[in-house]
Amino acid sequence: MCGQCGCDAHQAAPLPHRRLELHQPLLSRNDRQAAHNRDHFRRHGLRTVNLLSAPGSGKTALLEQLARHWPRPPIGVIVGDLATDNDAQRLQLAGARAVQIRTGDLCHLDAALVDQAFGQLDCSGMDLLVIENVGNLVCPAAFDLGEQRRIALLSVTEGEDKPLKYPALFKSADAVVINKRDLAEAVGFDRRTAIANLSAIAPQATLFELSARTGEGLDALIRWLDGKAA
């Protein structure tokens, strides 16, 4: 519409261009929600973990063991998958209180999804909440969910160079768990190279080696989660 007489015939004069300085983090909405979640978890007296790995590394198997051996059961689990609630059912059978998030085609969990799922979880008498992220080594690394600690899981069947290929995820982890150590020999896992790669990529991370299937090595991880290990 014309700016002078209100008619449609004249072209309105173009407005001058101007610059708006914003300096706003792209994920500021997620970050705000994550801060809210963190506060919420703290008020419920929960220690919270964001568990990340590739599909098939054994996240759910590890959490089944954790559900059975955590000193003050039950543990809570919010589990993300593209489809099905198989994982939540497995975890409930192991004694966990589990809520499934079906993300559809979303490749990661975000803080708002976790907040919604948390609302469905009964946290009475619970002091450990694990968020099992969607199996993916890329996208979930960028999204803070409000967790206190982040654990990256790597299984011996995936090869020693996984941390070199997906550095962002391993660099963001407080701990790295090498799983399926019972299979290490069978698949020719080069432990020394794997550990060298991990300490080069993620020098900040505490390292655990275990087998979620046999339960071997689980104690050290439980002590760390319980705040009793250095």
Partner: protein, 113 residues
């Protein structure tokens, strides 16, 4: 894969800021993406190309600046640019735990009218 989700956040932020400032059109969005931000700049550009085929983004340009990684070496007391994903100091070889820049994922500015 999450570049499309990030792009939606970007457009929502930009549209809200433009609206608040009484602007009618967004001509350019300036974005800073750190090498360690977990974002593939090409994927982001491609996602934007899809979006830019639709109104009101057809005349909007996306300016994407990649921020190179810089680390700090406590032994040499100086900043350095790592040669690869292992943040080893080129002077002494120590692995740095301190990233000074490279994690940015920021909408810097808009050009509007």
């Amino acid at each position: 894969m999450h570049e499309l989700a990030l792009l939606q956040e970007l457009c929502a932020l930009a549209a809200a800021a433009a609206r608040e400032q009484g602007a009618r059109q967004i001509h350019r969005m300036e974005l800073r993406v750190g090498e360690l931000g977990g974002v593939n700049p090409d994927a982001l550009r491609q996602a934007f190309a899809v979006l830019a085929a639709t109104a009101p983004w057809q005349t909007t340009e996306l300016q994407l600046d990649v921020v190179p990684t810089r680390c700090f070496c406590p032994h040499c007391a100086q900043a350095f640019s790592p040669l690869d994903v292992i943040h080893a100091c080129p002077q002494c070889g120590a692995i740095s735990r301190q990233v000074l820049q490279g994690r940015e994922l920021e909408l810097v500015a808009l050009e509007v009218s």
